[in-house]
Symmetry: C2
Subunit: 337 residues, 2 copies
């Protein structure tokens, strides 16, 4: 069994913890938090040993009646691998601690690429990450782009990608974020950083991205234009995308017009927290004109990187290959809607 420590138990950390627990070859040895909030209480209910970010924070947990198992340094020492799911920028501060303790570490996409030895998406570069001291699972949007491009590239060849990312303003729980009733070019200077982030995984790809923020919380939506270097019909493309468990082809007859119905479907299907680990691609949107493919996909920002974190754990400290790891992850979580 791989002993996994999770530093940061928020949106990503809590999902990764449950996903680790679902796997046959790994277990959670502890999760670490800074504040004794509702997520800390939930961690205790789920019986995850709860570590505190520093000694001087223990008192706050005691006061809140939340039992703790130690401080994060101890968790780092006792784990085979650490998944860092701290807020953006905090992971970089912990990087040296992980290195000094000799504990391999997985960072999230909110960190700069140089936080880790390699940026990671399972379908694209699992092998590059094997045996490394650190890997960075790229952001939700980048993960969604890489998965789609990889699936198309092998059979059809991808020459050029242009993507408009219509991004949710914040997660459902991020009540301090906006916009309300507005459409914000964001970032306003073009192109956006998402294209270069994809290139940390696919360095030779011609990709340009632009982003906007809108008053929605459920999912991001991407409008994509992709130049293919071979002829492919929409039917062939649909078949290809449908074959991947990390892509969910939304068929016309499901009557799903947006993220609200996608989330309803995931909740009805019994998905934990209504998570959609897959890229959700509208089959009806897939069109080809003069070798240029168009499509829409929705990306669940809270969960699409969760299976990638599991695969990253195996890449760093496990003993299976890329295909086996992804199949194990998919099977244990129940991917494939």
């Amino acid at each position: 069994m791989i002993d996994v420590g999770i530093n940061g138990y928020g949106t990503i950390g809590k999902r990764v913890a449950d996903a680790v627990t679902a796997q046959p070859d790994m277990q959670v040895v502890g999760v670490a938090k800074t504040s004794p909030n509702h997520e800390a209480k939930a961690a205790v209910k789920r019986e995850y040993p709860l570590f505190v970010s520093s000694d001087d924070r223990v008192e706050a947990f005691d006061a809140a009646g939340i039992p703790t198992a130690g401080i994060v340094d101890e968790l780092i020492d006792t784990s085979d691998v650490i998944v860092d799911a701290t807020p953006s920028g905090i992971g970089a501060k912990y990087a040296e601690d992980y290195l000094e303790a000799g504990t391999p570490a997985i960072f999230q996409g909110g960190e700069a690429a140089d936080v880790a030895e390699v940026s990671f998406t399972a379908c694209a570069n699992y092998d590059d990450a094997q045996g490394r001291a650190s890997a960075r699972v790229v952001s939700c949007n980048t993960t969604g782009l890489v998965r789609l491009i990889e699936q198309l590239d092998e059979p059809f060849g991808v020459d050029r990608v242009r993507a408009t990312l219509v991004r949710r303003g914040g997660d459902p729980s991020q009540t301090g974020r906006g916009p309300i009733n507005d459409i914000l070019p964001n970032p306003v200077s073009l192109p956006s950083h998402h294209g270069p982030d994809v290139k940390t995984i696919l360095p030779d790809l011609d990709i340009v991205t632009v982003g906007l923020k809108v008053p929605a919380t459920l999912m991001h939506v991407h409008a994509l234009s992709i130049d293919l270097n071979s002829e492919a019909t929409p039917a062939e493309i649909r078949d290809r995308l449908d074959a991947s468990d990390r892509l969910f082809l939304v068929s016309d007859e499901m009557g799903i017009d947006g993220a609200g119905k996608l989330k309803d479907f995931a909740l009805d299907a019994g998905r934990p927290r209504g998570d959609l680990w897959e890229n959700c691609i509208w089959a009806e949107s897939i069109a080809v004109e003069d070798g240029e493919l168009y499509l829409f996909q929705a990306i669940h920002q809270e969960s699409d990187v969760v299976p990638e974190n599991i695969d990253a754990i195996r890449a760093l400290v496990g003993e299976v290959d890329a295909e086996t790891s992804q199949a194990m992850t998919n099977e244990a979580l129940g991917l494939g809607l």
Copy 2:
């Protein structure tokens, strides 16, 4: 003086009425409405003779205490030109009435292109519309695209346009429309109809558009990728766009991040109803990579077609050329922020 009748006194009709009144060479001889709602009351306050869509509706206006001047047939007969601003699809039903009365007519972009002899955007094809029996001012989004492309094409050459239209779900007063907290591919089948609509004005253009609807009411926002066939720097492009009174270059130092601040600015500037007749283009977003231009523009769906309607009136029944008409319209309304 050109006697202008306006059939339909809603979002567009009421704005066109005020814009006609502001011109030195035309006047409103009446506006027509179907229901005695708040806009009908406002028309009376503004002293526009109010015509009713049919005899059997007069009673409803009488009951509401709203004085009427006759029925719409009489307005059509006495006008030199009719601006049809009825809801989408209704204009087509009136088309024969206008023709039979021998009254030149201007339709809006909600009608199919074949409702009129020519589709119209002043900067692109004023001359084609001169002396015609009918013209159709294309939709707000199409108008915004044509204006931008025209301004770029002459100096730099436009080879290909790819546009993602992030559309407001409804106008501020359209309380029955959504989405709330969602991002809807709309239309989900690609490409969208906006590209073909641009081609009713610029038939040889290589343009593909996709559209989404989001929970915002103030303005649309376009993310554009435009292949130029000559080298141009961002500074040259900014200068060129800044030179047109129907384009408003939003400079970085204004601190305008979206439609909310744009509307505030328009209201602070004393614009009637806070209208933004110009395409609002973020200067900071203008970037060029390998001959490919990127930019963001916001389009005020309630008002950008208003100056185009004024120019269409002159094209159909006036005696001035394209340049003179646009200059007159801009001067009378006060375009150029």
